[in-house]
Symmetry: C2
Subunit: 198 residues, 2 copies
């Protein structure tokens, strides 16, 4: 089965609709998705940014929130602008790695995005992640502990490094086995079609 790598960052607004759509679209196309959480912070820092470009460039930020609102409405996805942006998705990304290993990654990732951009909650708050894990009948204590291990920290760092090496500069991004890169929720369908034909 052809594979599409899906690179997402929990703080990224347009990763939300992509994460909510990719599962069903890929299944329909017969494409397998490799879910790859990574961190945009180090990549933005290497471009000289210490914040989201949506905060650095206010006109772009104002547009993005309105565009995201329209997009969610058209996709029937809940939307509420969180009071904090960008949020710290570090712990969520580390836990996502364990969740993906164990086969409940998609549910966890969808829940984190829904809480953040559908309910406007702060995912950098451990209590919010804890509630998500309890809802999924998972053990928060064990998962938070595993998120602090050098192994998991190192895997997330390596994944972020790999994203950069593949030319990724934003999220969501999609990469195919033959080395094509697609950026943005708007390119999801095209990325799946490309993966399918390779």
């Amino acid at each position: 089965m052809p594979v599409l790598d899906f690179w997402f960052e929990f703080a990224s607004t347009y990763s939300y609709p992509a994460a909510m759509r990719i599962g069903a679209l890929a299944r329909d196309a017969g494409v397998s998705v490799c879910w790859r959480p990574f961190l945009l912070g180090p990549i933005f820092a290497s471009q000289g940014w210490d914040n989201s470009p949506f905060n650095i460039y206010p006109a772009k930020g104002r547009y993005m929130w309105r565009d995201l609102e329209r997009l969610c409405a058209s996709l029937d996805l809940p939307f509420q602008r969180p009071r904090q942006f960008p949020q710290n998705g570090l712990v969520a990304a580390r836990i996502a790695l364990s969740a993906l290993d164990e086969g409940w990654g998609e549910e966890f990732i969808a829940a984190v995005y829904r809480e953040q951009f559908g309910e406007g909650r702060v995912i950098g708050d451990p209590a919010v992640i804890r509630d998500i894990l309890l809802n999924l009948k998972r053990d928060p204590k064990a998962l938070f502990e595993r998120a602090q291990t050098d192994e998991v920290k190192g895997r997330l760092r390596a994944q972020t490094e790999e994203a950069k090496e593949r030319g990724i500069f934003g999220a969501p991004s999609f990469t195919t086995a033959d080395g094509e890169l697609f950026w943005g929720n708007d390119r999801l369908e095209q990325a799946i079609a490309w993966a399918k034909k390779t």
Copy 2:
């Protein structure tokens, strides 16, 4: 008939597919297009950029050229990466204002984009613009002279100022009578549908 304002900059890569597509799509939808050339330079300068973000951020630039190539292939538009980027579209934008007044604006605009991104030519070179005008059976001398008048210069400046006031930060952009802004070739269909229902 509902109206959609189409804000384009000749130096902008993604304005090329938008300019080539908008006429037929809008006609099919029963929407009238108001073609509005403007300059991104002053808008980028107010964001602290003295160059295209595609040059300032090389990973983004590399991606854009590949994405544009794929996009043009899928739309059956000729594509050749010009040796110079971004190009100086000032004179072309001023002449476009006269051409639009006289009813041959769409043809002129399409020809300028085709020369630049379809043939890889340099539209800041007056000889290239002159050839385009001769092909369209227009008088280059009169048009270059008119492009140097204070009236035409002032109109382009005012249009750029209006773009900024409407929150435009990139090209192509589309605005509707009820104040919605859409950014990017990817949003063309959505912008037309929005204009149609207002």
